[in-house]
Amino acid sequence: MRLFRFILSIAVVITLSFLMHNPASSETIANVEIEGLTRVGHAEFTDLLGISSGSILTPEAVSAGIKTAFKKGIFRDIQVLYEQDDIDMNLRVIVNEVPLIKKIKISGNVRISKRRILRIISLEEGANYHPEELLKVEHRVKEFYKTAGYPEAVVKSRTQEDSVEAAIIVEIHITEGPALTVSSVKMPEEVRYMMRLSYGDALNLKVIKEGIEKIVKYYRKQSYLHPIVGPFLFENGVLSIPVEKGPKLRLQFQGNQSISSRELKKDVTIMERKTVSEDAVAESVRRLHAAYKKRGYTSVQVAAAIERTEELIDVTFVVFEGKRIMLRGLTVTGSSIDNSTLRKVMTIKDGSPFDEELLEENTLDLTRFYNALGYIKFSKETVKKNYFSQDNSVAVEISVREGPQVKIEELHIEGNSYFSSEELLQQLKLDIGSSYNLIDIGDARYRLLSMYYGRGFMDAYVEVNSKVEETKAEIRFIIDEGHPYSTGHVILRGNNKTKAKVILREFTVNTGDIYDHNEITRIKQRLYKLGLFNKVSIDFLEPEIKGDSELVRDVLVVVEEGKSGAVEFGAGFGDYEKFRGSFDVSYDNLGGYNRKIGFRSEFSSVEERFILNFRDPWLFNQPNLPFSASLIKEKARSINIESRDIRYKIDKFSLITGVEKSLSPRLQVALNYEYSFVKTTDVKPGVILTREDAGTISIASISPSFFYDTRDDVFDPTSGSLNGIVLKFASRALLSETEFLKATFQSSWFFPVVYDAVFALSFRGGLAFSLDNLDELPLVERFFLGGRRTVRGYSKDTLGPRGQDGDPTGGNIFTLFNSEIRIPVWKGLGVVGFIDGGNVWRTIQDIRSELKFTAGGGLRYKTPVGPVRVDYGFKLNEESGDTSGEVHFSFGHAF
């Protein structure tokens, strides 16, 4: 009885303890503690892990969660532990993260720079650290030192962990040791200069290797067939490089009249093969033969004679050219398609040398052409060549058998249930009655697959069965739809600096959505467009566990971050400002939010400008709502381009902030606020029109703008148009000292014409009203015309009304017309011809004077950011005292 009670008590205890420790059955999680997480936010981590307070715990889900989170690539281990007290099931997640390399410290290097060592070790600050790499690093640096002549170099590395975050400092200490130094170099004097080692240098194996390669190249250029240089010997500081030049090859040609020996040498491959073997000579003979045949010498004969001495191998190619045969004409018989159409398919031309190889290729082109038209049984029957000895020509007659033209009679779609047959048939873009063409059918199949991939049917398969009978084809597209997959977790990897939010906000396919493969491709393009990543890959992952969740697949986004900082220098030349320079420093990923901050300075003989700018691509987390702010300090001098006399000086300090929004890919609207503090000094008396033209004034304005842009290329458009309007309203309500309303518009059109030439046309205009009961606006706000971007026969800002001393004063209204023909000539070089016309008037009541026209031409040289240009414009309305025209040097098109 006692024994029974004892056994019973043990059984009860074991059962109880088992029940309390078996989380296999689903239970609700009360609390989740997370330890050791520093590299990713809690929300993102728990989302990937799929564990949160209140959720049901199943061991399978935990395992799947660990695997999903691990794919993020920043964890070494994720331990999920559980604890159950009387009431609750608690979880503890202990995360062991892959540390980031915070800093790489290199010490002890004297002869080799830190930058070079960093390149060798291929560790990068800010990248993930894997301990196994450290051993490789030591080995790499040691090998590098050995190559550089320091065989006793000792490399030791260690790491130091950061106490707060998962980051380490890598320390590499180098003891370089003594160098193997060269006291003298023994080698033939004629090539000594190619070995860049001399007395006192370390025995650098890389330099020796490069020197040997150079010497071999040098001798081979001298026609030495197989020079042997090295291997080197190093003894007691003496570096010896043995050189065995071997025999020289002399190539000679006899009997060649139509092709020069120099040209024929290019077809001889003996030098490349480094041997005068029978094979090498025979191959060269074959190539020479082919070269002649290509030029119409159909009966050419080539033979080779070889003579050898110890120092020289003479190879003489004896050529009997024969007669050159020209193609008199080519006809295709047996074809229902006229010969002129067929000749367009063939590249062989009448009157050109008769090339049999080209004729063969052209016959194949003919077959492809017929097949594409549905003549699937097309065949070439015979090729007759009739020679005409009187003028050494040949007439070719190709006889063909077309066979029946097969047309599509029936189209069937099978196996579809998600899309209707009508929808799919429409996408095929194949018509009943159209010719049966395998390329079109292949494209149609791809379009169907693309439709399915767009709706998450990632396993969709389309088989095409064609039944061809005489002239009719029945095509069946047999579809195996598979299952529609939806998107699981979006796992981000590689975004060490960039916040997850910046990537995820570009994702239009979210967890739970249908996995739209076509949209994923667009997301990838958008991520590249952010300019933050060198590489982006988006993969559709296999499910980790079996069951319903198979239809939900995680998406792994792997990015490789590029360098966010950039420093740029620029220099240029313009007719007005002469030499100009710029310096730009920017950082594109401020705080990991893709916010850009930059500083730019520009200098020239007429202006200095300093700009501090900031740009947030998503203001208030709104898509496509970029916000920008700039602080600009500028000093500008308006000068007379001929005399270089100063008309006035402007010191301006501005703050410009604004938002822009793309209402469609082509329509962009923007709203800017500008506050400027302007100081105008040294103003020539004739230029002063208003009280504000000299002295200081603050101008505050808002500028709404609208632009509709259909151009195919912003920098070098060949089609489309740019239409826009910009309003500027300055008011005391905005803290301005002056009030005005200004409007400018632009409409530029680009039309492709023949031979890649482009005809460009542009209308621009502007109108301003002072709201201060004055006729004119302050000097800095007035319109000026003339110069490289407006009316090119006039120098900068010289059109329109002038003051008492003849200096231009600008005005409140302008109109401008430009037309230009842009003709590419050769490679990136092009020419243009243009007519510009326009004028500036003081006020709307002054529009009495005529438009000023200029005509001219220029040269363009294409660069990736628009052309470099030189223009000369002639004045068509030349007045006494005017120059006849102006030259302009600049960058980018005039409009």
């Binding site: 420790h21 935990v62 695997k67 499910p543």
Partner: protein, 179 residues
């Protein structure tokens, strides 16, 4: 004077045993137990403790290290198989079965397909084991001898292939013994 309380220890003997056992067996309910964690990483694939335990249930005689090594080898082979874009489908769509099938297919194509047993070798085995093939002609046993030799060769080649894969892969074992 109060009467001293005399406790009959015997009476509480079973309760005592019960309590001691309860504390011993459930004592660690105050501590944390491991549910799952990553025991090995093969390139970019994680192998979990739960997978190891499940594999050990199927292979009770092998040690934990041996089973884990087998899982690592399978992960390596599966990774390679994926590069060949092999596709198989099982009747019930079981993922584990699919993986096994893909690995089998890969071994067949990448290793087994290159094994050739010369006729002389088969004849030699036949001659040396005549007693085993009593009364059977060479042509009758040729295929089965060939199969046996292929299996032996496959085992050798597969071992070499896995070694090659191991040298060019990143493998990290992080089995813990504290849970």
């Amino acid at each position: 004077m109060r009467k001293p309380v005399i406790i009959n220890i015997k009476k509480f003997r079973f309760i005592g045993i019960f309590m001691v056992l309860f504390v011993c067996l459930t004592g660690h309910s105050e501590s944390w137990d491991m549910l799952d964690h990553i025991v090995a990483v093969v390139n970019e694939e994680a192998i979990l403790l739960s997978e190891l335990k499940s594999a050990m249930r199927d292979n009770e005689r092998a040690s934990q290290e041996e089973v884990l090594n087998t899982l690592v080898d399978r992960a390596l082979l599966y990774n390679e198989a994926k590069k060949f874009r092999l596709k198989v489908s099982t009747k019930d769509g079981n993922r584990i079965e699919e993986k096994n099938e893909i690995i089998r297919e890969y071994i067949d194509r990448r290793v087994k397909a290159f094994i050739y047993i010369p006729l002389n070798d088969i004849e030699q085995v036949y001659e040396m084991n005549r007693n085993r093939y009593k009364g059977l002609e060479f042509y009758e046993v040729r295929d089965s001898i060939d199969d046996e030799l292929v299996e032996v060769e496959l085992e050798k080649k597969l071992k070499i292939h896995i070694e090659e894969l191991r040298t060019k892969s990143s493998i990290r074992i992080q089995l813990r013994d504290d849970y």
